[in-house]
């Protein structure tokens, strides 16, 4: 559907506002469903626990780690609670 068709069907007469609402609606669709998935890979560095995902991330579907022996990415589980840290690197 074109933007004009959406405007005609909904009875909107403001193009810029309609485009902004379409973007909001696409955001909501992507937040609630897996309509379009994107993949990003990050290099794991020794002794580093924190990694920054892509800026356009909306909702995480899954996280995998490369099993270098099998040469396959395998899904890992999420920790529900923060672990007890006994030894930490300087932040």
């Amino acid at each position: 559907m074109t933007v004009l068709e959406l405007m005609e069907r909904s009875g909107s007469d403001n193009t810029n506002l309609t485009i902004a609402w379409i973007k909001d609606a696409v955001n909501l669709i992507q937040s609630n469903t897996k309509h379009d998935l994107k993949t990003e890979t990050i290099t794991i560095t020794e002794n580093t626990k924190s990694y920054e995902p892509a800026a356009d991330l909306m909702a995480i579907d899954n996280i995998s780690i490369l099993d270098t022996q099998a040469d396959q990415y395998k899904r890992i589980r999420r920790l529900a609670f923060p672990p007890t840290v006994t030894v930490d690197n300087s932040p």
């Binding site: 193009t15 609402w21 990694y51 991330l57 579907d61 996280i63 589980r77």
Partner: protein, 151 residues
């Protein structure tokens, strides 16, 4: 070399970042009195560097506007439009396009101060999204008929 990553590696959300931990299995030790004692398991930071070792699959705001009709053009052949106009296509199928019509109607109702109407159209919006999702899954449900059931 990372092995058994699905068993020994974990992640955790911390604000905007993702924390990665590896489970280090407790090592058995022989005490001075000759008794074998097993150490406790502990979570440690990644103990090796793995190139492209972390893979994240996520939903994102991917090309909401395209130049050609997405229902007649393959996604890979369609080009993204960064400055959309009235003639630009929304990169969604017809069902999700109709959901967006409901969303715009909801926003118009809200702007007019009619919250009841807005709620009605928002419900319609989410119903169409769930209809679109259920269109991808065909599940048949069968149940046994009782021996004395009227046939």
């Amino acid at each position: 070399m990372s092995t058994q990553v699905d068993r020994d590696w974990f992640y955790r959300h911390n604000g905007k970042k993702i924390e990665i931990y590896r489970l280090k299995r407790g090592e058995s030790k022989v005490r001075t009195d000759g008794v074998l004692s097993s150490g406790a398991d502990e979570l440690i930071y990644p103990d090796e560097t793995i190139t492209n070792g972390l893979r994240i699959e996520y939903t994102a705001f991917i090309n909401p506007f395209v130049s050609s009709d997405p229902e007649s053009t393959k996604d890979s052949a369609n080009s993204a439009v960064t400055a959309p106009e009235e003639t630009t296509h929304v990169n969604l199928n017809r069902m999700l396009g109709l959901a967006i019509v409901s969303y715009i109607r909801a926003m118009l109702a809200e702007a007019a101060g009619d919250i009841q109407k807005k709620e009605y159209y928002m419900r319609d919006f989410f119903k169409k999204i769930s209809d679109n999702e259920s269109n991808k899954r065909n599940v048949s449900i069968s149940s046994a008929i009782g021996p004395f059931a009227v046939r």
